[in-house]
Symmetry: C2
Subunit: 383 residues, 2 copies
């Protein structure tokens, strides 16, 4: 953080940002409260609010009555002043959500896709899903302020999928480049577990936890890490890939579920987890043993993550998130002995929305960073 100095116009820019942040964080405010919140004088914020109103970043609400005296004019952030797109590229489903700048999801569209689909087919499905979501939101692509897509695999800072085990066809794809062809706004690409971790911090189990490990568990196993509330990405986008270490259990963990003997023949792998957990829940000893083995292998990898970054909280998400009642206790039992000081372990309640919500959050962060950048002129809202 090397803040540049400058003249009084720069001071005004800073005060403008301060005012905008105050309104956003403290909800609809009158001028008097706003002046107090921003630590500025009332005439000053009045001028600043005027400017923000004219720029389209604030809107005036009808005044609230009920109190003594003249009711204050109320101002709020103009959340509809822009929209972002969050995308989750899964093995079986492509999810796209449109959210306004206040973070409210205003439209969503999912497309099912075969897990065996090739690169071209998957990209085509993606375009369909995007078009569907935009139509549902009543927006066109040029009105989108930022796009973020989550995908399995190691993603470089340039948005290239360097390595994907879950989607082998995906390896080497310049996903950001592909998406940039459809948008003329910033396009971000991120590992899906990382985005899920962001989502947990935003709207999930980790509301006030800044040191977080999110573990995606199911057919695949992966992790996203938050340090001081920010994504740990590593030098080359490879943070959290503890599953690559054969000394720990992640590489063999899913086999306990997909290879479970009690499954009806022909069960697709993505349904195996739910079936095994259901059987365990109803007391089937073989299933309980499978869950136990699965939990042990999962705990080995989690232990390495926990001992490395020492999080306050570990959130389990992905396919297992509906089976917390059966899985949570065994995981804790295996994990705790490995830890110097065991973290809290919780099950995600965001379900399948975690990645797409995290993508929305990431895109919003990008827009916010621009909005709050003193060095650039105040951007314009796009609607």
């Amino acid at each position: 953080m090397t803040l540049r100095g400058g003249d009084t116009s720069r001071l005004r820019r800073i005060n403008l940002v301060t005012t905008l942040r105050t309104v956003r964080s403290q909800g609809p405010l009158g001028l008097t409260e706003l002046a107090r919140g921003a630590a500025l004088s009332r005439p000053t914020v009045e001028g600043l609010v005027e400017e923000l109103l004219a720029a389209g970043w604030l809107r005036e609400l009808p005044p609230e009555s009920g109190q003594m005296g003249r009711p204050a004019r109320l101002f709020a952030f103009h959340a509809a002043g822009g929209h972002v797109l969050g995308i989750d590229i899964g093995s079986y489903t492509l999810r796209v959500s449109v959210a306004d700048l206040g973070g409210t999801v205003v439209a969503a569209h999912d497309e099912q896709i075969a897990s065996t689909a090739g690169r071209a087919e998957r990209l085509a499905g993606l375009r369909t899903a995007i078009a569907g979501a935009l139509e549902a939101a009543g927006l066109t692509a040029d009105r989108i302020a930022a796009v973020c897509a989550g995908t399995t695999g190691v993603v470089t800072t340039e948005g290239v999928v360097k390595l994907s085990v879950g989607l082998p066809e995906w390896t080497g794809l310049d996903l950001a480049g592909e998406l940039r062809a459809s948008f003329d706004c910033p396009v971000l690409v991120e590992n899906d577990c990382n985005l899920a971790a962001l989502a947990e911090h935003w709207r999930g189990q980790a509301g006030d936890v800044d040191e977080l490990v999110f573990v995606l568990a199911g057919v695949r196993t992966g992790a996203g890490i938050l340090v001081s509330g920010k994504l740990l990405k590593g030098a080359r986008g490879g943070a959290g890939e503890i599953g690559a270490l054969p000394l720990l259990g992640w590489h063999r963990a899913p086999v306990h579920l997909t290879g479970f003997q009690g499954l009806p023949p022909g069960t697709p792998p993505q349904d195996a987890a739910a079936q095994v957990f259901a059987a365990a829940r109803s007391g089937d000893p073989a299933a309980r043993w499978a869950v136990e083995q699965y939990a042990r292998d999962l705990a080995e990898g989690i232990a390495a993550l926990v001992l490395t970054v020492d999080p306050e909280l570990v959130v389990l998400g992905g396919g297992v998130s509906r089976s917390g009642d059966v899985l949570l206790a065994p995981v804790r039992r295996h994990l705790d002995p490995f830890c110097l000081e065991p973290p809290v372990v919780a099950i995600s309640d965001l379900g399948e929305q975690a990645v797409v919500l995290g993508a929305v959050r990431r895109a919003l962060d990008h827009v916010d960073a621009r909005l709050y950048d003193f060095d650039a002129p105040l951007p314009k809202p796009s609607s």
Copy 2:
């Protein structure tokens, strides 16, 4: 970073900090260059420099002649305006360094101590070492602006040693509290590996690397991690403690050295490493095998760290840092197959000074943060 707004006096405070940072980072400067570096007008920086000069944070150097035109007045950061203390509490040695605010070590004092020394004895030795260093620097304790001490074990944010395997007597000690009795300035306590990582970033192998894992290897094994150039401490100070995971090799690694059969009887454990490496260097097959085993166990733990945080660089330090020629190749050979994209592996060249240098850096960072804080008035130099 939530910068508050304010009036023009706040702007001046920002410009003051900008000017000071410019001088510090770009060395002795004339007013014209300074104005360009700080992106401010010349009359403005002139006033600011006047203020900094009066406050004692800048000093004027004799002008340099030899150039065409009127020679510029030269200004530099007044590094002697304050001093910090860096402390390394080792098993066998207590090191104390005094540095000025420019980071130059102006005095140091070491005390040897028995590794079996109890808490009181070690604390007494520490006081002796501190007094010796202060005397060598010609300073008294009340002139010190900040103190940072490094010790083995997990250290809480409050500066309590929560758990130390290397110094069992140390566990539970409120080290920060003990030191605060001798100083009325901020006292910081930090894990020694963390400080060594900071030192590598400051003056060692990791000059321009912000994603770093430092591995202390020798009689003990530990790690310090830098993410975006900042210390990864974890929620409870337990980051980097991968040695606690029995599935990986760190817990048994030192045994290959201390338990080496070819050692002369009665070799103290702290000398074992050097002897084994020396034997391996001269071709002893048993020693080479021991080194190989040691490197494999070391690599297992490093792999977990690397796969979790994906650093650009891994620095090996501690007891093994003089034996890089024998150790580096085996470690790389065992580490690389575990990694998706192997990081650079290097040997520290800071030797035994790494921790104490890192402690100095940490104390300096603390002072700097105050100096650069817009919300507080400019502090006064202490000498």
